[in-house]
Amino acid sequence: MAQCPECAADITLESNAMVGEIIYCPDCNAELEILNVEQPEVGLAPQVEEDWGE
């Protein structure tokens, strides 16, 4: 089980997951890149800051 680097949520990788694939954290919706499949690991994908108010 991988951990979200943003919020520490448990992230279960799907059976067909591949390194480099982009997935999302179910809790904080961070965009995550799969770094390792055998020893599940994900990292924050580079994200452009959207403007979302004021």
Partner: protein, 355 residues
């Protein structure tokens, strides 16, 4: 099993109407009577137009109330306390949505409400009806108090931090509530006149707001301070353009330098299994933090937080629908606890988007 027979007093008001709506669709409940002094004889839908074609119930007079299994009181503050002995003869379980039985201590009551409590002997029996904090007591309770709508959001938002002992109580707790117009009830007046209330961002009682007392009591319990939290509590409320909904923004200061994952853990542990609490804290999108409008009609309390590590400060945001988790929905949830039912029974509506 036969259905629970429930009756409502003050059914022509907003929380009474909301209760009627919920109980009509509750799988284990049957509404026996809905009382109203001003509308007796009229159909429910003459006041609550959403109930048209869904029920043929008519309001009865309060004095015609008959025994039932559970009685909900939806009366203005002060109206139920004096009559409580009477209401308890009608039903073995009473849930009072007013403020009359929210405070355990008659001293606290006197400080915040002014004047002697009319039924101090009952204060010890009443349970503060917030399932997330008092679930066990509710299963035994015969007199349950509803909770203040802004107080509910504040307490639910802050409880995990207080329980975890993270808060620096030498510093003030500042809570700013933003609130819709239905919180003031169904009676028209100058302050609710549409041309004046519309688009308002209006402070009312910037200091001395009575909901403070509930925070002081409930957060105090979590800190082992039975006479109430000793910390300075600065609570203020601002009416905004909204019919249903509350957003509470609370500023607390911390004892120690922590990182945000600690907060995630604390909130997950507190609320991971709660059916009506959601942690809302997203890195992208429009709905990154709790937003009351999508909660209209739902029983959720959405909670988010953000850490200002440099200042050892956390901003907690909590949103709910004042008529649901802030009043009638929470009362039904409490009733479910009292009768040992599934806590979500009758409360499944998820809220709308867009809205």
């Amino acid at each position: 099993m036969s259905r629970i027979r429930a009756a409502i007093v003050g059914g022509s008001g907003y929380t009474g109407g909301e209760l009627a709506r919920l109980l009509l669709f509750h799988p284990e409940v049957e509404i026996t009577q809905v009382a109203s002094g001003s509308r007796a004889g009229q159909f429910l839908h003459s006041v609550h137009p959403n109930l048209r074609k869904l029920t043929g119930i008519r309001f009865c007079r309060p004095e015609d109330l008959m025994p039932c299994d559970v009685l909900f009181l939806c009366l203005p503050h002060g109206a139920s306390a004096g009559m409580m002995e009477h209401y308890r003869t009608l039903a073995p379980r009473v849930i009072d949505l007013s403020a009359d039985f929210r405070l355990r201590s008659s001293t606290l009551y006197q400080r915040w409400y002014g004047g002697e409590h009319p039924a101090t002997h009952l204060l010890g029996e009443a349970v503060y009806g917030l399932p997330e904090l008092h679930r066990a007591e509710l299963s035994e309770a015969t007199l349950v108090s509803g909770t203040g709508c802004m107080a509910t959001a504040s307490i639910l938002g802050l409880a995990p931090l207080y329980r975890a002992g993270l808060v620096n109580e030498q510093m003030p707790l500042v809570v700013e509530a933003k609130i819709g117009s239905s919180a003031a009830g169904a009676a028209p007046g100058a302050s609710s006149h549409h041309p004046d209330r519309s688009g308002a961002v209006r402070s009312f009682q910037p200091t001395g707001h009575r909901h403070s007392a509930e925070l002081i009591q409930e957060l105090g319990v979590l800190r082992g301070q039975p006479d109430g939290l000793t910390q300075s509590v600065a609570f203020s409320a601002t009416a905004v353009e909204l019919v249903r909904g509350i957003l509470v923004t609370a500023h607390v200061f911390l004892n120690e330098q922590i990182d945000e994952k600690v907060l995630w853990r604390v909130y997950r542990e507190a609320y991971g299994r709660e059916p009506f609490i959601r942690i809302v804290k997203e890195r992208s999108g429009v709905y990154r933090y709790p937003e009351p409008k999508i909660l209209a009609g739902s029983n959720f309390c959405d909670i988010g937080f953000e850490l200002d590590a440099a200042q050892r400060r956390v901003v907690v945001m909590a949103a709910l629908d004042n008529l649901m988790k802030g009043a009638a929905g929470n009362a039904v949830q409490a009733m479910n606890c009292m009768f040992g039912l599934d806590e979500t029974a009758g409360l499944l509506f998820p809220g709308l988007h867009p809205v």
